[in-house]
């Protein structure tokens, strides 16, 4: 008897959990849509900027810019890691943090110290657990990072880079490739290399003969403004990408949880029915046995 009651109780608990996970899945789906729209809205800006940078560097000839220098003598670099503020998103944080730690170990092997800027509570807690010091802990960005919020971070990094305090800046985040594929990556955003400015340029643009622009002010000065803008835009893109990936990860995790709870409910129902049937059979046997004895 007690067994049956227990089964009913457990089934009820699992049903409640299913209700919650399903709701969380729906919320994540809605948030994913919003985040995805934001991420795609960022694309035209970044693409256009890269295109302009390409046109400009072609016009300006060989460019020398403080943001493109690769200082060899500085033994310190910086890593911005973008993790999530909340849990229940499957392997999302584990993925980012694993690649981040791997990167740190690689850098250490090269004798380079890395300053860590950590975005998101989950990453902060993990690094506290590892007892690794973090230079900066960023938790104010939330689900919809505004460009104005990301801008100061990028500016501070560029400042330190130009002053020669750090030799490079890396960002580790989960790159959004498609709705079915996201990948934790470490990308270098500083120093800018020529290939970096080219990788986004569309082929159509590549094929297009260079346009005879009128420049105002001179190409060199324009480039001075354009390159920092590219860095800011790329960092911002990382943030929006990371948010999209996070929502997908959460969606998938919650879908899996809902499915698992459904299976479990089925199993529990089966067990309960079997227990009930056994009890009925036992009772019947009792009654039949009793009446037989009276005959």
């Amino acid at each position: 008897m007690a067994n049956r009651r227990l089964l009913v109780k457990r089934r009820r608990a699992v049903r409640n959990i299913r209700k919650i996970t399903r709701t969380m899945q729906l919320i994540a789906t809605a948030r994913f849509q919003a985040a995805f729209n934001r991420a795609t809205a960022t694309k035209p800006y970044t693409e256009k900027l890269t295109e302009l940078a390409d046109d400009l560097s072609r016009a300006a000839g060989d460019v020398e810019h403080p943001l493109m220098r690769e200082p060899q003598d500085v033994q310190r670099s910086c890593l911005v890691t973008i993790s999530s503020m909340r849990g229940l998103c499957g392997g999302y944080n584990a993925g980012v943090l694993r690649t981040a730690v791997k990167h740190l170990i690689e850098q250490e092997a090269l004798g380079i110290q890395t300053d860590i800027s950590m975005v998101g509570k989950k990453g902060i807690n993990f690094f506290k657990f590892l007892k690794r010091p973090m230079v900066e802990q960023i938790t104010h960005l939330g689900d919809k990072p505004a460009f104005e919020d990301v801008e100061p971070i990028a500016n501070a990094l560029m400042d330190r880079f130009i002053k020669g305090e750090i030799r490079s800046v890396y960002v580790s985040y989960v790159k959004f490739i498609s709705a079915a594929k996201q990948q934790p990556v470490v990308v270098r955003i500083l120093p800018l290399s020529k290939e970096d400015t080219k990788d986004n340029v569309t082929e159509a643009h590549e094929a297009q003969a260079s346009i005879d622009y009128e420049f105002s002010p001179a190409p060199k000065e324009l480039l001075d403004e354009l390159l920092p803008a590219t860095v800011r835009a790329r960092l911002f893109q990382c943030f929006t990408d990371a948010i999209v990936s996070e929502q997908i990860a959460r969606m998938v995790a919650m879908k899996a949880a809902t499915d698992a709870s459904e299976d479990m409910i089925k199993l529990l129902t089966q067990q309960y029915n079997r227990a009930r049937q056994t009890a009925i059979t036992m009772e019947l046997l009792d009654i039949v046995g009793g009446s037989n004895a009276l005959k």
Partner: protein
Amino acid sequence: MAKRTTFQCSVITPERAVLECETTSVVFPAHDGELGVLVNRSALLCRVGIGAMRIQQASGMQTLFVDGGFAQIVDNRLTILTEQSKKPEELNTEDAEQALVEALAMDMVEDAAFTARQRAVKRAKIQIRLSKAK
């Protein structure tokens, strides 16, 4: 073939495309003063300053606040890339006035700080003007 009288104009920020339209004339704040664009303008790459840009559309004049960035004109397509752009109805006089007070209180000891202050003051003043004019 009919003579072309309009050209494409788009204003893009990192967060969204603010404006995408056909227009006959645009005036935007360049880094060294206002710059007017008509149809068939030759290719140009230019730095954008802080200020109000005016776009002549079929439905009337549209004003936008832009905050620095770049303008590119190729093949009757004007693209303005700016880090911040707002329509006048999105601006709020009180917020802008608050921003002006803060901007005026900014430090102006070093060169960099001084320029930053100048920019902030200018930005706030233009926002106030635009938000009042709407």
